[in-house]
Symmetry: none
DNA sequence: CAAATGCCATCGATAAACCTGATGGGGAAC
DNA sequence: GTTCCCCATCAGGTTTATCGATGGCATTTG
């Protein structure tokens, strides 16, 4: 039993058929059949139930599958780890909240792109929950999300603390007046699952505003436009709204301290290999925020030098 | 790069020499040299510094080594998790009628648990029909059901013959009197689909009692309590009712021979692999009943020895 | 009811990978 | 300088993997 056999096995399990697995593996069906049979003979256990529409895992197969997946992933990581050198190259995929991506990421990316020209960068945006899921599923190497994050498989580095402010139409000069219009009020959020939405609803509920309607937007500009038009209110980092406020499109209202601060953290898997490209990215991000925004009290403990040669720890 | 390559690599790293690794791996030096070279070529990085006293890891090699060790360990664990050997281990799921589970199974399970401590056992209860369906769908490995079972994909081993008796409230001394109370009479059964229910309805219908109401119970105690209270009658194996009768809670009435005997059989798929754990369970069950209840005429043909390493057959 | 489809097992031939044993070169120890 | 140990290379044979084709089986389609 070697990793090749397990890869074939996993492909069959995933596709639910030997024929389908064969074409997924760019080989022929007889080949897959043979390797599965060899594997079953070696283990002394059938791994699949054969039926006319394909195959399904036996209980032994179900026990084996997670190992096959872990081993496949480790093989990939091993290849990356060994091929990785002191100079950052390859590709990294970074997740981010939309607000962070719009506000904080561009200068970092510019700096990183200059420092590591051989790295392809891809940014995925989504909610905190979606990004954490993406990190856990290895779809992104790391992600900027709203903290705090407490998950045994993740490590989180605080990068910047945002002040959340309530944005309303410009003619609203007092939050208290919102209650008069509670019926028509909407909260305007990026999308379901957005962390800031939870903060906003809690904040409004504390003021007796419950059961307000939601309006979801996919773009920051559209969202601000909605607020400017008086359709609803939103809660976003002050820096995101600064420009709109200076243009007189929205009015900003401070919120109580306990609701006002949210720390953006960079999360990554604790047990995964950190490529040079990713390490350099994290360093760049931290350098950037620490050097150019020193007034912000960021608990920016430099990422601890990783034990590069014992990447795993449970 | 597969796990075999990594195993060779790890051996070289551990022994500090290609020649030494070769004899540790029971192979020839040229072989090890070649595979290391292939691995280095694939990764595009040298893994060892060669010098006259042997080899030492390069930095790339040092990064790769922990992965090689982890993967080797996982391969072993995977084999351990899935493989079936001469010693019973793993998990078996056994289906059973509720009556059989309550009456016949506990001593068998005690014996089996002592003999095969490394096996996790799960008992599912349900009606004959449900259990047969579960066996066919691979949800349980085998099941105790009411015979006879005649299905092309199933093999049934008779394990014990039960005498079914009619139980009524203790003041009923003659079944014939039941007809006088036909209006209020209920039949009390485990649940819809119970095999004994079919027997009971047939038996009552033969006496002109049709269209009686049903009362379904999930527990044996509740069911007997109902009968004791005169709410209805039930049909169950004599052994199940023996205690209640001795306490005077119910009266038992023999039923005609043709309806009285039901053979409990153990069914399993005929075409499925029989794990060591399951084989030992079947043996334990048969040994138990044969040895300790020799008076019972059980057609206890011992299960045929299986061909362990050709797990499939169509 | 027959033809067609989709799926898996099997087979023989070919190609690739692997293992083997022998040889040669190079540096360190004696 | 000689010996010893170690690694790289090479030609060979053997095992293993792969391929394409064929057939059986059960369901689906016409």
């Amino acid at each position: 039993m070697d990793s090749g056999d397990l890869a074939v096995f996993a492909a069959v399990a995933k596709t639910g058929g030997i024929t389908r697995a064969a074409q997924a593996l760019n080989t022929v069906q007889s080949n897959v059949t043979h390797r599965i049979q060899m594997l079953e003979a070696e283990l002394g256990v059938p791994l699949f139930h054969r039926h006319t529409r394909g195959v399904t895992l036996t209980s032994a197969g179900e026990k084996l599958l997670p190992y096959a997946e872990r081993i496949a992933r480790l093989i990939g990581e091993a290849r990356e780890a060994a091929a990785d050198g002191p100079v950052a190259r390859g590709k990294i995929i970074i997740g981010s909240l939309e607000t962070t991506a719009a506000l904080r990421l561009p200068p970092v990316l510019a700096s990183y792109a200059a420092a590591c020209p051989e790295v392809d960068i891809e940014i995925m945006t989504g909610t905190t929950a979606a990004m954490i899921e993406a990190v856990l599923a290895h779809r992104v190497e790391a992600a900027f999300v709203a903290g705090p994050v407490d998950h045994p498989d993740l490590v989180a580095l605080p990068v910047v603390e945002e002040e959340l402010v309530l944005a309303t139409a410009p003619w609203i000069d007092d939050i208290a007046k919102l209650r008069d219009r509670a019926g028509q009020l909407k909260i305007v959020v990026f999308r379901a699952g957005c962390t800031y939405r939870v903060y906003l609803e809690r904040l409004l509920a504390a003021r007796g505003l419950v059961d307000v309607r939601r309006l979801e937007f996919g773009t920051l500009d559209g969202l601000i436009g909605c607020v400017a038009a008086g359709i609803g209110v939103t809660l976003l980092p002050r820096a995101v709204l600064a420009k709109a406020e200076s243009e007189g499109r929205v009015a900003l209202h401070a919120v109580p301290d306990k609701d006002a601060k949210v720390t953006t953290v960079l999360v990554r898997r604790g047990d995964s290999f950190v490529s040079t490209a990713l390490r350099r990215f994290i360093e760049t991000a931290q350098d950037f925020w620490r050097d150019r925004a020193p007034e912000q009290k960021v608990a920016a403990a430099r990422i601890a030098p990783q034990a590069r040669h014992s990447p795993r720890k449970r």
